[in-house]
């Protein structure tokens, strides 16, 4: 029985991490209807920022997430300004453009920092864990999960309870009408891309405390994040959270009880089932 709980909890941690990564994607998708293909590479860049801060200045990921968050906030805004703002609303253009961006960023990092994977030694959290009964709770994952909940909570509050949030919603629904209400939609887009970047930046900042950093690290994460956003219903923070936890649990349960190679088959399969029953996602409009 404790094994079962162990498996469940492992899934939970994984799920919450996915939620943290998916949140920014969901926001950008929901507001601008842009699927950011480079999302995984944003994550990777965040990890590099955190890694180098740790490597060069001995900063712990528990601190450097702030820096990666800010870095990715700026990076997101820059991406918006230079690329997305020029092609917003043009069918597939943003998707392909971000695909190009992904290719560029990934190979730029590879070219500059070599393809080596890098690990931070002796971070504060690394290797620590505590027990709840027979169940092991690894500290890095636990802390990341807390961050995920905090960031998602903050995002939710911001979107539903603040003027900024209303403006974001209005912009998402009809940009032109929002402008007629006095919303500076361009600023909203810029900020949304920035915040989306910051969310994934925070995730990237924390990850080096237990995951190796390398140019390809974002690939699978971004795929899972795409799926979570679609499953939750785009633009919906609670949707992203629920879907993420579901994915984490399925992954863990299928991985353990059916077999590790089946875990993504199960995850993607169940995603398809969910989306076919609810074509706009669990919490979608």
């Amino acid at each position: 029985m404790s094994l079962f709980f162990q498996v469940i909890l492992d899934g939970l941690w994984a799920g919450l991490l996915y939620g943290l990564i998916a949140a920014g994607l969901s926001l950008i998708w929901g507001v601008m209807d842009v699927l950011n293909f480079a999302h995984g590479d944003f994550l990777m860049v965040g990890m590099y920022v955190s890694f180098f801060l740790g490597f060069l200045f001995k900063a712990d990921p528990l601190v450097s997430w702030v820096a990666s968050g800010i870095f990715l906030f700026l990076f997101g805004m820059l991406t918006y300004k230079l690329v997305i703002s020029r092609i917003l609303g043009k069918a597939m253009a943003p998707l392909l453009a971000t695909f190009g961006l992904s290719m560029m960023v990934k190979n730029l990092v590879l070219n500059r920092f070599s393809p080596n994977f890098r690990i931070l030694e002796s971070t504060i959290l690394e290797g620590r864990s505590f027990m709840v009964g027979d169940v092991i709770v690894p500290l890095p994952q636990f802390v990341t999960s807390l961050f995920a909940l905090a960031v998602l909570g903050l995002l939710y509050w911001m979107l539903t309870r603040t003027r900024f949030g209303w403006a974001v919603q209005a912009t998402a629904l009809d940009g032109e009408a929002a402008r007629l209400m006095g919303v500076n939609t361009e600023k909203i887009f810029l900020l949304v891309f920035g915040i989306g970047g910051a969310c994934v930046g925070i995730a990237g900042g924390l990850l080096p405390s237990y995951l190796a950093t390398h140019p390809d690290v974002g690939t699978l994460f971004s795929l899972i994040a795409f799926m979570i956003v679609a499953m939750g219903g785009f633009g919906s923070v609670p949707g992203a959270l629920v879907a993420a936890v579901m994915v984490g649990l399925i992954e863990s349960l299928a991985g353990f009880y059916i077999g590790p190679v089946y875990k993504y088959i199960a995850v993607f399969g169940i995603y398809l089932v969910v989306i076919l029953i609810r074509p706009k996602g669990l919490f979608g409009w």
Binding site: Q169, L173, D174, E176, R179, L180, M181, G182, N184
Partner: protein, 239 residues
């Protein structure tokens, strides 16, 4: 009747995708007036209004509002200056409730008390909206949506409100009511610029009117002059 000039449009030209559709439109609206723009389909009425509202910028020409040049001012700050635009096809926030739509109308206002007061006023004007306050805008019928759009425009407490195709899709009794509302709005001190296909009805409540044809003003005058003009009657009133 004729206060100082509130809105002045001087010889604007604009177009879509490089194709010019407005070739030099000039008009003015004095505060306290109701001014109607009439014209056939595709004459450029909506384009003119969109340009004034800042959704697009003219290739040449000048637009002044309330003493300031707003030719290149972005739409969102034009609202703040007191010029509201109710676009054709309503453009409600489809997934938000009626109440949320109305609240968005007062986005430039930060004081919650003030917003509540304006909301009350809107509900008085359109009691249906009060009943439906919680309904999601896109599930309302066309007419209900139109009312919501007008009410939303008024939420910003504008000095001038531009109404595009006010009566489109409204039932006769409501058209009547809406037109009465326009007069009422004016009586409350809000200047009105409207585009309307029900030419007769529109001119009956207006002070002055402009007739626009393929992107240029071809007639202008007081409402009664236009109503009496045989050309206008023939071209736009089917008589």
């Amino acid at each position: 009747m004729s206060g100082e000039i509130l809105l002045e449009v001087k010889d604007i030209r604009c177009g879509y995708d490089g194709v010019p559709v407005i070739h030099g439109v000039s008009l003015e609206v004095r505060s306290g007036e109701i001014v109607a723009i009439i014209g056939a389909n595709g004459a450029g009425k909506s384009t003119t209004m969109r340009t004034i509202a800042g959704l697009m910028h003219p290739l040449s020409g000048v637009i002044r509002f309330d003493g300031a040049d707003i030719t290149r001012t972005p739409a969102y700050s034009i609202v703040a200056r007191g010029l509201a635009y109710v676009p054709e096809a309503r453009r409600l926030f489809s997934k938000l409730s009626v109440r949320q739509n109305l609240e968005m109308g007062a986005f430039t206002v930060k004081d919650r008390g003030e917003i509540a007061a304006r909301l009350d006023r809107a509900f008085q004007l359109f009691p249906v909206l009060k009943e439906r306050a919680g309904q999601i805008a896109e599930t309302m019928s066309g007419g209900e949506q139109q009312m919501c759009a007008i009410a939303r425009g008024l939420m910003s407490n504008p000095k001038l409100i531009m109404l595009d195709e006010l009566s489109l899709g409204l039932q006769p009794s409501i058209v009547e009511k809406v037109l009465e509302t326009v007069v009422e709005i004016r009586n409350q001190g809000i200047t009105v610029l409207l585009v309307e296909q029900l030419v007769q009805e529109a001119l009956e409540i207006s002070d002055r009117g402009y007739v626009i044809q393929t992107g240029a003003i071809v007639h202008q005058g007081t409402a009664s002059e236009l109503l009496a003009s045989p050309e206008v009657r023939k071209a736009y009133m089917g008589m």
